[in-house]
């Protein structure tokens, strides 16, 4: 009962259909406000000039990239424990979004790094662990696509997600340790956070909200498609049985 009933595909389809328009609308509003405000109505940073504005894409995408993986971890767990198809399908649907977010973070970061650090890429622990996260996403998707039987795939990918998460955290720690004292740029991102003045901060909040909503919208859409594909598969099987 309660929340779990949404794990029933029928129920999920109905509710998601009802919600989608609103989330989509809100996403549009937040992103437009946040980005326009951020890009056109904020002063240039005294040190970084206009490049600072990349933050409006970079930070939200980076945060999402991480949080999406966490969300996948949770849904995978739910699948393993309660065997709710929708939750594992949600995880499957989330992965590509996560990859895109990671890529956005990487690229914007790289573009930002050029003026800031004078290089496209630094082996800063944070960036590095991000690269690893990217690899985990790739592996997860590859495994999904490699296995025919959907339930088998669901189980195996969920296991991979669990184990992977543990190792992802380990890698983050390892990366910190590995780059210790070797490289100043290490926690640059964090330092900047401190002196992100309010003028930059408020639009950033809008962007963050926008990205979260964007993810929710895309997730609902993709999960719906996944469910539909499943139904198609079920129908095919019926035909075969009839034949």
């Amino acid at each position: 009962m309660s929340l779990w009933e949404y794990a029933n595909p029928k129920k999920f389809m109905q509710t998601s259909a009802a919600i989608l328009p609103y989330t989509a609308g809100l996403t549009a509003i937040c992103l437009v406000v946040g980005l326009v405000w951020g890009f056109f109505f904020t002063p240039d940073d005294f040190r970084q000039g206009s490049t600072v504005k990349i933050i409006y894409l970079h930070v939200p995408s980076a945060m999402m990239a991480i949080n999406i993986w966490v969300m996948m971890l949770v849904t995978s767990l739910i699948w393993l424990i309660r065997r709710h198809h929708v939750s594992v399908l949600a995880a499957k649907a989330a992965a590509p979004i996560g990859v895109v977010m990671t890529l956005i973070a990487l690229f914007t970061g790289a573009i930002w790094g050029q003026p800031m650090w004078g290089t496209w890429w630094e082996w800063d622990p944070r960036l590095t662990s991000f690269l690893i996260l990217f690899l985990f996403y790739l592996g997860y998707i590859a495994l999904w696509s490699a296995i025919e039987n959907s339930d088998t795939a669901a189980d195996l990918t969920s296991i991979l997600c669990l184990v992977g998460s543990v190792f992802a955290v380990l890698s983050r720690y390892a990366a910190n340790f590995w780059n210790q004292g070797l490289h100043q740029g290490a926690s640059l991102s964090l330092d900047k956070e401190k002196n992100v003045a309010d003028v930059f901060y408020q639009p950033l909040l809008f962007c963050l909200a926008g990205f979260v909503l964007l993810f929710v919208t895309l997730l609902l859409l993709r999960t719906r498609t996944e469910i539909r594909t499943r139904r198609l598969l079920a129908l095919r099987l019926r035909e075969r049985q009839a034949a």
């Binding site: 890429w121 590095t128 690269l131 690899l135 590859a142 590995w178 780059n179 070797l182």
Partner: protein, 218 residues
């Protein structure tokens, strides 16, 4: 011939092979190196060209045992040999399919990874050119190796053992090209050598490989 090429591509894409994986492997190897060597960009850019080439080479290597082993195990190699295809042609097609699924994507991917290892920008075009010229040789040599080891179950490791030494010249000239470009020297000589090796292998190895297969089947 065409049918065979299409089939191999279809299989590569379907059976978890395909473009994606060799790329991913390439990416991973290049990412691992800094973890081993340490984050100092100075050293990294020093070794970048070499690492990239070795990485591409290993990515090629890992997909080699696919080329014939599967066909051997499920018996289709027997059938292909008795089919009206010249065995040399079959080998060439297999090698080409392998290049399409590994060498080509690797070449296109290389510049991106070069950024990660902060390779000197001067090297970028030459990296691509050298890979484009060199990878066909890698695929062809690899196919030859695969033909030699086709009988053996999971000859994978042995295969790489046989093939890697044959890869050395290609590797040397390929990496040399990039290094010279970075140091601002003339790159024609290594490039010419590279082209020479590729042409030579494409011209000769199909026959050797075909012979090897005939021997392995009896």
């Amino acid at each position: 011939m065409k049918a065979l090429l299409l089939r191999d591509l279809a299989l590569a894409v379907k059976a978890g092979g395909g473009f994606g994986l060799s790329l991913a492997f390439f990416l991973i190897v290049t990412v691992l190196i800094p973890f081993g060597v340490g984050p100092d960009t100075g050293i990294l850019s020093e070794v970048a060209s070499g690492v990239l080439w070795v990485g591409a080479l290993l990515a090629c290597l890992l997909s080699l045992d696919r080329i014939f082993q599967l066909d051997f195990e499920d018996g289709s190699l027997d059938l292909l040999v008795t089919a009206p295809l010249p065995l040399e042609g079959l080998v060439a097609v297999k090698a080409f399919a392998h290049w399409l699924t590994t060498g080509l994507p690797l070449t296109l991917m290389a510049p991106v990874l070069a950024v990660l290892l902060n390779l000197d920008p001067a090297g970028f075009p030459w990296l691509v050119v050298s890979l484009a010229l060199g990878t066909p040789a890698l695929s062809m040599i690899g196919t030859f190796g695969a033909a030699l080891t086709v009988g053996l179950k999971r000859g994978g490791l042995l295969l790489s053992l046989l093939v890697l030494p044959l890869y050395v010249p290609t590797l040397i000239f390929g990496a040399e090209t990039v290094r010279r470009a970075v140091d601002g020297f003339d790159t024609t000589t290594p490039l010419l050598m590279l082209a020479g090796i590729t042409l030579g292998t494409i011209a000769l190895l199909p026959f050797a490989a075909a012979a090897a297969i005939r021997i392995n089947l009896r």
